[in-house]
Every structure is written in structure tokens, then in C-alpha cells.
Symmetry: C2
Subunit: 338 residues, 2 copies
């Protein structure tokens, strides 16, 4: 059973009926066709029905079914169950398309989940499987690119036609917007977390990847390794650095230098107007944004320094992006049948 | 006086009447409106009239007038003289547009030469000045981006909708093609030569720029500095390295590592299908391309490694790109007057 409460701003808090976890407030996506939206992650699936006002109904988080052999089919079955629940709870809302966003390497043009180590698929025809199961148009995309699209339409990147969104959490994921369009290169673009900037080993098999030094996960891990003391997260390392802990200061300094170098490269090569930073590390505020700004100005010259802005949609950006793309698929579906 | 000789392939050798220097063979740009094309460099201007068959007539190289105060106006006057010469020599060919490409930071959308240290202008309204002087539509672009466009339409990049062109000579210039369109970001994109990858000083004022280690100019300079022996060019350093000279081997190895790192970053971030390499260093052949290929595969993992292909248009890519853009301007001009 879900409890919902809306306030005067059209924003709605939702308490999930499965994990019991209260999700962050979801902004509405504006008026349009009702759609079903899913944001599939390595451990859980967010699902919701977006009504004609663009409000998320029944937004909840449930566990992702096991990966491996048959994982793609199990996932689609689970989505169908979630859809049935949503339609039962809101019989008056008739969705006309599905949004489905997934992690890994995603070829959104051909509707293929190319590779996901967590979910255990290779070349899974997820869009076709979903379209067959639901009998509706399916919008299919990469989770972080969908989240970045939501930031572009509704959030921190909405003033810019050329931007890069970096989500810095356990790892570092990126998405690139060129002249108002996502640049994907068949799913291979935007791997800024696995862009090499040094010579250290990365679990991915490459050397010198940004995320092995500068993700929130790497900051905690590197501090724990160097100090012998486990910490609760990057936030704690940043606080220790501010309080004078030398190991914490070094780990944080190296993370900032690595992020600065990567953003400097983005600046020289694709020259985004803005770099929008989300994920857990973005909550460090000035300790992150002011430092990056100063270091970026220090190491570049004639280049056009991008605005560094915080992401605004928090953990819901993925499902909002999924719903936005589903709206597009619904519009195309209506044109097709008109 | 110019002497011209064509062969059965429709390609024409041209001997210039000013510098006396024989230009490399220019491929034709195909059938279309006759246009005047200019490729302005720091030391010389290439000019030619392209006829309806797309053959370059009167292609020659003449000195660029002095920069500094009034430099933009002097340049336009010089272009008008060159145009008069060409029209006198070929009275039967009636050009309907001008192509003008220049170095530096170039805002091609607004027709502005934002900055050129060699030519000494800042925010020069070059397209407007040329349009006023010639009374014809003017296509205006950055020299290397125009050269890259020619490689995309006619040369080494023609099989790819997503590519990066690197011109490695005295410096390193780059241009980015996304989904078949040049990505410029107001003139700030493609500065791959000034993308930082280390901590060494660069004359531009930034730290760690690629071109300070990996351009042909840097390779010669770094060898001369380390050995105390001047060399004739990067080609000589590569030959010395192959012959067992330890200093040459180290300088060349560092250049290859720096290029590998930059191309690895391009691969992770924008994932081009191909990186097209031109300029003097590209003539190193296998010593460059085979090494970069092997090193790139060694340092990356799941990434999609781009094809590394040599540029094909050599020193004429700039004026060919200028003529191609002029054709586009002519087409727009005709639509406008129809």
C-alpha cells in the first residue's frame, strides 16, 4: 500500500510500499501523455506511472531480479508485474508508452543492452522484449544519459545547449549534450570515469581511470587503505581533511586534482558551456565546486572555462528521464497511428 | 604567370606564380557552382578559383600581409587583389560565393576572427568585411576545421560520421565531427593540442598541453635541447631513434605515450569511429600508426578503439574545405534570391 501527499507546488512525496524507503521529492515532468517509466539499476528498479499532469504516481523502489542466464527475460517479467500493480492502483490513468532505462553499455538506437556486468547480459534486445510484452511503444536509454537528459530538460543543465553531466558516486558516469542532443556514439561516449589520466590500475582493466581516484567510492577506499581506518563515506574524508587530517587532505587533494584535469580536458576538447555535477560527491558543495573552479582557472589559459553547476534532480533524475523519453515515444506512436 | 597541367584523373598540378613553390596535387571538389576560395595562414595565403567541374584554377601561395593594427582590413584588400588576378586569368568562370578560412580562435557562426596571435586581430568581423568588399555570400571558417571538413567529404575521414581530425605539425590542431556535423562550440572546441595531460609548462600559459611534447615541432626542439644537437625535423628524430640513439628514442617514446593518452581520452569521452591524423608527423607512417594502435590497445579495456587513419588531402585540405563551404554559401545565396 502506498501513501501519497501532494503540496501546492505540484510536487509529491511518495512512500514506497516495497522497500519502505522514502524517495526524494520528484518534480513533475509537465503536461502530456500518461506513461509508465522504469529506471533499472544493479540492485533495484524504480517504477512509476506519470499522469497527464506529469506527476509521478506510485513511485517505488523494488529489488532487481537476479542477472545471469535469462536475466533479461526475468527483468521484463518483473517490469510487467510492476506495471500491473500501477495500473490496478490507478485505473483512471491509461499509459500510452513505456520508458525503460538501464545501466551498462547501452545502444539506445538499436534498443540493445550491449553489456552489463551487474545484470549479466550481453546484446540483450531489451526494447524489443519490452515492446512485445507491453504492446506499447518503448523508449529505451542508458540510465545516466536519461538522468542527464532530465537535468537538461528540467534541472541544472536546462540553460545550456552544450553540457556534460557527471554523476560522481560509487563510480563516475558521464553524459554529453551537443547542440541540445545527447551524444552517445552507439553507447560508447561519455565514459569519463574510465577516461585515463594517469597510470594507476583500474578494475576495468585499463590504466589511470579517473574514477579509480576521484569517485566517492575511491575516496573512501583510498583513505581507508592509507590510514588503516574505515570511513562511512567520502563526506567523512572531506570533513577529516578540513579538520587537518593529513591522509584525508592528501586523498581529497588528489581527487580534486584528478577531477580538475578531466574537466580541463573536456574544456579543451568539447568546450561545454557547463559541467553539471550530481551524485553523492556533489553534496560536498563549496568544498568541491569552489576548489574545482579555482584549480581549473589555475591550469588553463585561453580556454573557455565552463560553468560548474550542481545537478538538481538528485536520485530521481533517472526515472524522470525515462518518463520524458516515454512521452517522446508516445508522441511518435500517435503520429504513426494518425 | 601560372602553368597548369591536368592528367586523365581530373587532377591538376599547379605551379604558383608568386612563391614559385609547386603545390601538392589538389583533388577536385566535384561539380557545382564556381567559387573563389582562400586559406589564410600565418605566413601565406592560398587562393584559387574552383570551376563548375570543381577543379582548382590558378591555385597559388602568396605572403600574408602584416598583422597588427588594421591587419584585418589589409587582409581583405589583399584577398580582393588575388580575386581580381584570378578573374582576369579565367574570365569565363563566374564565381558566386567566397570561401574564407583563417587560423586562431574562430567563431564561424557569427563570422568573427576572435583571436589570432600571428595575425594580430581580436574580434575582427571578417565575414562582414569580406561580404561588403566582394558583394557575394561568404563562407567563413577555421582553417583546421575546414581542412577536417574536406577530409570528411573527400579524404581520410569520408567513411565516418563521428571522427576527430588531428593535424600534427609545428603545433597540434584538432577538429571534431559529431553525427556528420562539425562540433565547434563557438570556436573553443577541438583544442586537443592544448588539452592538458601532464604538468610541463606550455607557452600558451597552461600546464601539460599535449602539443608541448608530441607535436613535430616539440619533438625536434626536445631532442635538440636534450642532446645539444639541432635536427632538421621530427622525421630525423624518429630515424635516430630507430638507429639506436637513446635520447631520440626517449623523446619519441614520450611523444607516442602523450598522443596515446590523448587519443585514449577521446576514445572514452566522445568515442569517435576514427581518428584521422594529418600534418608532417603523419608521414612517419607505421612508426606512428602501428605504435599508437598497439599502445592504445594496451592501455584501454572495454572501450571501442577508433580506427587510426592517415589524412589524404595533405596541405591542400584547408583550401578544399574553404571551397566546399563556399559551395554551400552559393547554394544558400541562390535559394535566397530565387
Amino acid at each position: 500500500m502506498s501513501t501519497e501527499a501532494s503540496d501546492h507546488s505540484g510536487i509529491r512525496d511518495v512512500v514506497t510500499d516495497v522497500s519502505g524507503e522514502k524517495l526524494a521529492r520528484a518534480a513533475t515532468i509537465g503536461r502530456g501523455s500518461p506513461v509508465l517509466a522504469f529506471d533499472v539499476g544493479g540492485t533495484d528498479i524504480k517504477s512509476a506511472l506519470f499522469d497527464a499532469d506529469g506527476t509521478a504516481l506510485g513511485l517505488r523502489r523494488t529489488p532487481t531480479p537476479a542477472g545471469g542466464e535469462g536475466g533479461a527475460e526475468r527483468l521484463i517479467e518483473r517490469l510487467a508485474e510492476l506495471a500491473d500493480d500501477l495500473r490496478e492502483q490507478h485505473p483512471d490513468v491509461e499509459p500510452s508508452a513505456i520508458g525503460l532505462v538501464v545501466p551498462g553499455i547501452v545502444d539506445e538506437k538499436n534498443g540493445i543492452g550491449v553489456f552489463s556486468s551487474n545484470l549479466g547480459w550481453r546484446d540483450a534486445p531489451l526494447r524489443a522484449l519490452a515492446a512485445e510484452r507491453f504492446g506499447m511503444p518503448v523508449a529505451f536509454d542508458h540510465d545516466v544519459r536519461a538522468a542527464s537528459w532530465a537535468e537538461h530538460v528540467l534541472g541544472g543543465a536546462r540553460s545550456y545547449e552544450n553540457s556534460v553531466v557527471l554523476i560522481i558516486g560509487t563510480g563516475i558516469a558521464g553524459a554529453i549534450l551537443i547542440d541540445g542532443h545527447p551524444h552517445t556514439a552507439g553507447g560508447y561516449a561519455g565514459e569519463i570515469g574510465h577516461s585515463p589520466i594517469g597510470d594507476w590500475p583500474c578494475p576495468c582493466g585499463a590504466r589511470g581511470c579517473l574514477e579509480a581516484v576521484a569517485s566517492a567510492g575511491a575516496i573512501s577506499r583510498r583513505y581507508a587503505e592509507a590510514s588503516g581506518t574505515p570511513v562511512g563515506g567520502a563526506k567523512e574524508v572531506i570533513a577529516l581533511a578540513a579538520a587537518g587530517d593529513e591522509i584525508a587532505a592528501r586523498v581529497w587533494d588528489e581527487a580534486l586534482d584528478a577531477l580538475t584535469l578531466s574537466i580541463a580536458q573536456l574544456t579543451a576538447v568539447i568546450a561545454p558551456q557547463a559541467v553539471v555535477i550530481g551524485g553523492g560527491l556533489s553534496r560536498a558543495g563549496g568544498a568541491l565546486f569552489d576548489e574545482l573552479n579555482a584549480r581549473l582557472r589555475d591550469r588553463l589559459s585561453f580556454h573557455r572555462i565552463p560553468a560548474l553547476v550542481p545537478a538538481e534532480l538528485s536520485g530521481n533524475a533517472g526515472i524522470l528521464g525515462s518518463a520524458l523519453w516515454a512521452r517522446e515515444a508516445a508522441a511518435v506512436g500517435e503520429e504513426g497511428s494518425a
